[in-house]
Amino acid sequence: MTRDDAFAQFLLRMGDNTLILGHRVSEWCGHAPVLEEDIALANTALDLIGQTQMWLGLAGEVQGEGKSADDLAFLRDAWDFRNVLLCEVPNGDFGRTLMRQFLFDAWHSIQLGRLMKSSDERVAAIAEKASKEVAYHLERSADTVVGLGDGTEESHRRMQEALDYLWPYVGEMFQSDEADAEMVKAGIAPDPASLREEYDALISRILSDATLTIPDSSFAHKGGRTGAMHTEHLGHLLTQMQWLQRAYPGAKW
C-alpha cells in the first residue's frame, strides 16, 4: 500500500463517518419529540455533512482521479464505504440516537484534537474547523445522555438498552490496520488504538453521571472501516441518499 493509498483510505474513513452519520441524523428532521430537539438534530447533521465536504473533497484530491466530494458521496456503492458500523445502525428511538451520537462524538472530539497536530496542514486545518463544532455536539449529546439516563424509570431503561445495543459497535473505532500504520509513520494521523484510554475515561465519567452501566464485554463488530462487511442497513440508507443520482445520473441542482 502506497502512502497516497493509505492517505486516501484514511480520508474516506473520516468523510464516510461524517456522511453516513450525518445522513442518519438528518432522518430525524421533522420527527423529533419537540421542536428544539428537531432543530438541534438537524443542525448537528448539517455540521457533519459540511465536514464531509472537506474530508471527501481532500480524499478526491489525494486519489487524483478527478473525483469531487459529491462523486464520492453519491456514486459509490456499499462496499466502497469506509465508515465504522456505529454510524450506519438505524436510529431506533430518540434515546438510542443520542446514545449513538454521544459514543461517536466522544471518539470524534479526541480524534480531531490529535489531527489538529497532523503533519499534513490540510488535515490539521479541517480538524481545527471541525473540532469547534464537535466540541459543541459532545457537550449536547453528553448532557442529553445524563439527562435521560438519570431521568425517569422509563428514560433510564431506554438509555441502558441503547447502550447495551450499541456497545458492541464501539470497539471498531479503535482498530488499526496497515493504512493506519502508514498514517502514523507519516505523522498524519494517530494510531486509533492510542485513543482508547482517553475515550474510556471520558465515557466512563459521563455514563456514570447518567447512572448507566457499561456492558462487561469487549466483543466488537467490525468490517465497516475496512469495507470488508457492512451491516445490511447501509445499503438501505444508500438507496435513499443516492436515489436521485441513481435515477437521474449527473443531475444537477
Binding site: 432543530i39 448539517l46 455540521d47 459540511g50 486545518a125 474547523k129 463544532e133 457537550e139
Partner: protein, 157 residues
C-alpha cells in the same frame, strides 16, 4: 496610447463589502461577521478570502455569490473568491459595530462565559437556556425569565 486603469484601493473594497449584508442576519454585514479574511490585488485580479462560520452553513455559497454580485456591480471585472478554512472562524472576529447591531436586532452577542450577558429586549440577567441549537447553526435558543421573551444567542466559538 497608454491605457489608464484605476484600481479601487483595498480600503475602498472593504467599504463596499461592509455594505453586503449577511443573508441570515441582514442587520450585520459580512465584514461585521468577520468572515472576510483578506482583500488583495494580484495583478488585475481581486482576490477575496472568505472563511465559513460553520462548515455546514448553507449560507456560505450565498455569501460568496452576494460578495461577487456586489463587487461586480462596482465594476470589478477579474474576481476570485477563495475559501479559507484555517485559522478557523471565531466569534472573536465579530466587530464591535456588529455586536451592537446584533443586540439591537434582538440577538444576544457572544460572550466568553458561554451564555448571553443579558436579555436583548429588557436587559434582565435572569435567563434560561432552552436549547443549545437555534434557528441557524451559529445561534442557540434562550429565554428571558422576566419579560418571558424567547431570543437567539449568538454562540461563542
Amino acid at each position: 496610447m497608454s491605457q489608464v486603469t484605476t484600481q479601487p484601493s483595498t480600503d475602498q473594497i472593504w467599504e463596499w463589502l461592509d455594505a453586503v449584508p449577511d443573508p441570515e442576519i441582514p442587520v450585520i454585514s459580512v465584514v461585521d461577521l468577520g468572515i472576510v479574511r483578506g482583500v488583495e490585488w494580484q495583478g488585475e485580479t481581486l482576490v477575496v478570502s472568505v472563511t465559513p462560520t460553520y462548515s455546514g452553513c448553507p449560507a456560505t455559497s450565498i455569501i460568496s455569490l452576494d460578495i461577487e454580485t456586489a463587487l461586480r456591480s462596482k465594476g470589478i471585472e477579474y474576481l476570485k473568491i477563495e475559501t479559507q478554512i484555517s485559522p478557523a472562524w471565531t466569534t472573536d472576529w465579530l466587530s464591535e459595530k456588529g455586536r451592537a447591531k446584533l443586540e439591537e436586532y434582538g440577538i444576544a452577542p457572544p460572550q466568553p462565559a458561554g451564555g448571553p450577558e443579558k436579555c436583548p429586549r429588557c436587559g434582565s440577567k435572569n435567563l434560561t437556556k432552552v436549547s443549545q441549537f437555534g434557528s441557524t447553526p451559529c445561534k442557540a435558543h434562550w429565554r428571558c425569565q422576566d419579560c418571558l421573551e424567547p431570543f437567539d444567542y449568538f454562540k461563542c466559538i
